[in-house]
């Protein structure tokens, strides 16, 4: 039986400084510092003890592959909601805490946006030289530089990696039909002749390989980083790098919900009669992004053809059959699982009959509708610079400038629950224990990471509390323990007794 699909999203935000030093590392540091000191009013550092992003899920490292560097010197904080907020290379990055289902993941992704908005305000107020900090939730600068929005899913270690690659690739190639954030033009050398126009995805054209360890060059559709941040004998964490950063809530919800469901099917080794392997997944991924008709035939490995939509319909049909037989437990609550299936079908139906009817649900449709209306009003074409400006400003997080915020898109989480998620951790994973300890005893926790907390009780040595199971340390597990402990030393005594 598939294990619960604990999930999370890490978003690298674009950052720009107006009226001052444009150095993005310095700017990201100002931003995060301002939040930690002036908004959250506490700063607990990240513990790098268990970082090993160079491990390959295939069990070996390829010659010449570039393992990501762990940048221990840059600013890194853990928040009371269990999230990590830090400088990653040249971007501010927010990683949601571990969430139990797609709806909760959406709520914490939205909380991340709220935290970045508060960070911008705090950063502007913290400097006195007129600098303004602007953050964008997008994935490219339109000049060939891309940065990621990665998803993570907890998986059973017993699922063979080759089966995961085979099973998830058709989904990663085609889910951009609803998870794409939309983009004007193309920017990679491969698509030199497509500089104007519109494509469904920000990220797709940057992918060059089927499988691999890299994240910044020769990007693979399936990333092999084997860093479970949990007991490696029981779990793996599938690190997904193909996605766009979404602002539309339905898009985020579906991106995570459908992927969780298909990964559960892979764990249970459930597939359909037809093999959905694409002849050339990389090429197909690019073509799907550029195909606004949504009708292009993609060559399959078995010699037949299929459209991206027909692949999605087939995946949905399998998911329905699977959940009818085995239930929705792996997707969190019954309601969330049912909602994933309902929304998935609704969106595929919309894409098939009238894609523009999904402007309240999907980013690429919302953006395209806005751009076409703008072109009609101003009599301009795709090559007009204002198209690129609209594209960029769609993702500007400042409420005063954001174009997305001006659109009447559908919301799945209410603002009150998002505001709560800014400081309170999710109840159903170990993030609860992490966040609660940080909330209750901020000075005793000296550092934290995904799978442990380090306490300083004022007596030598420092005490590390391992949290190797993402499904333990939930509110149900530890609330009594936390409430009965007057302080951190009592907590540690109870834990070790």
């Amino acid at each position: 039986m598939a294990i619960p699909k604990v999930c999370g999203i890490e978003t690298e935000y674009g950052i720009q400084v107006l009226h001052g030093d444009p150095n993005p590392i310095a700017a990201s540091s100002v931003l995060i510092n301002a939040y930690a000191q002036d908004v959250a009013r506490q700063q607990v550092g990240w513990d790098f003890e268990d970082e090993s992003p160079g491990n390959d899920a295939r069990g070996y490292a390829r010659q010449g592959s570039m393992a990501p560097q762990v940048e221990t010197h840059l600013l890194n904080t853990v928040l009371t909601n269990g999230a990590r907020f830090y400088v990653d290379h040249a971007h501010p990055e927010f990683s949601t805490p571990e969430c139990i289902d797609a709806l909760e993941c959406l709520r914490y992704d939205r909380a991340g946006e709220e935290i970045l908005i508060r960070s911008m305000e705090a950063a502007d107020a913290s400097v006195h030289d007129g600098r303004t900090f602007v953050v964008y939730k997008n994935n490219s600068d339109g000049k060939g530089n891309s940065y990621g929005c990665h998803e993570n899913y907890l998986m059973d270690r017993r699922a063979p990696f080759a089966r995961i690659v085979h099973g998830i690739t058709p989904h990663f190639v085609t889910r951009q039909l609803y998870a794409g954030a939309g983009k004007v033009g193309a920017e990679t050398a491969t698509h030199e002749g497509r500089r104007t126009g519109f494509q469904l995805s920000q990220r797709s054209e940057f992918f060059e390989e089927r499988v691999g360890l890299e994240t910044t060059l020769k990007r693979p559709i399936v990333n092999t980083r084997d860093e479970p941040h949990a007991d490696p004998h029981r779990y793996r964490r599938l690190h997904v790098i193909v996605g766009d950063a979404n602002l539309a809530e339905v898009a985020t919800f579906l991106k995570v919900g459908t992927t969780s469901l298909i990964l559960a099917m892979i764990e249970d080794d459930v597939s359909g009669d037809r093999d959905l392997e694409l002849a050339d997944p990389v090429r197909a991924m690019h073509e799907v992004s550029f195909d606004r008709s949504l009708g292009r035939s993609l060559p399959m490995a078995d010699g037949t053809t299929a459209t991206a939509l027909s692949i999605q319909w087939e995946l949905l049909a399998r998911a329905r059959k699977y959940t009818e037989e085995r239930g929705l437990a792996c997707l969190g609550t019954e309601e969330v699982g049912a909602e994933v299936l309902r929304r998935w079908e609704e969106v595929l139906h919309g894409l098939e009959t009238d894609p523009m009817s999904l402007a309240r649900q999907l980013d690429w449709v919302a953006k395209l509708q806005l751009m076409e209306a703008y072109q009609d009003r101003h009599g301009c074409g795709w090559d007009d610079q204002r198209m690129a400006a609209l594209d960029l400003q769609y993702h500007d997080l400042r409420p005063s400038r954001s174009l997305f915020a001006r659109l009447d898109t559908e919301h799945l989480v209410d603002p009150v629950s998002v505001a709560e998620a800014v400081t309170v951790p999710p109840r159903g994973t170990r993030a609860w224990f992490r966040g609660q300890c940080l909330t209750r005893w901020p000075t005793a926790v000296v550092s934290a990471n995904w799978d442990s907390l380090v306490f300083d009780l004022g007596t030598d040595p420092l005490r590390r509390v391992p949290m190797m199971d993402p499904l333990r340390g939930t509110a149900d597990h530890v609330d009594d323990l936390l409430q009965q402990s007057a302080g951190p030393s009592e907590l540690l005594d109870r834990l070790s007794s």
């Binding site: 674009g14 990501p68 290379h89 339109g142 459209t307 027909s310």
Partner: protein, 65 residues
């Protein structure tokens, strides 16, 4: 051909139960949408960065992931 059948099958099994909602006539719906978009475009004309070319040129993001 295979894909057509695939799609049809899914469509017929999955969409038969859909509830029929009262939808305004297409033209009225279109008019309303257009009016909303017009208001939105007025607002966007106000907030869109003045110099689109410079705004786009200055947005450069190096390094990441």
């Amino acid at each position: 051909m295979a894909e057509r059948e695939l799609k049809k099958k899914s469509s017929t099994t999955e969409h038969t139960e859909e509830t029929v909602e009262e939808v305004p006539p297409a033209s009225a719906k279109g008019e309303k949408l257009k009016a909303e978009l017009d208001d939105l475009l007025d607002e966007i004309d106000e907030v869109l960065e003045d110099n689109a070319e410079e705004f786009v040129r200055n947005y450069v993001q190096k390094g990441g992931e």
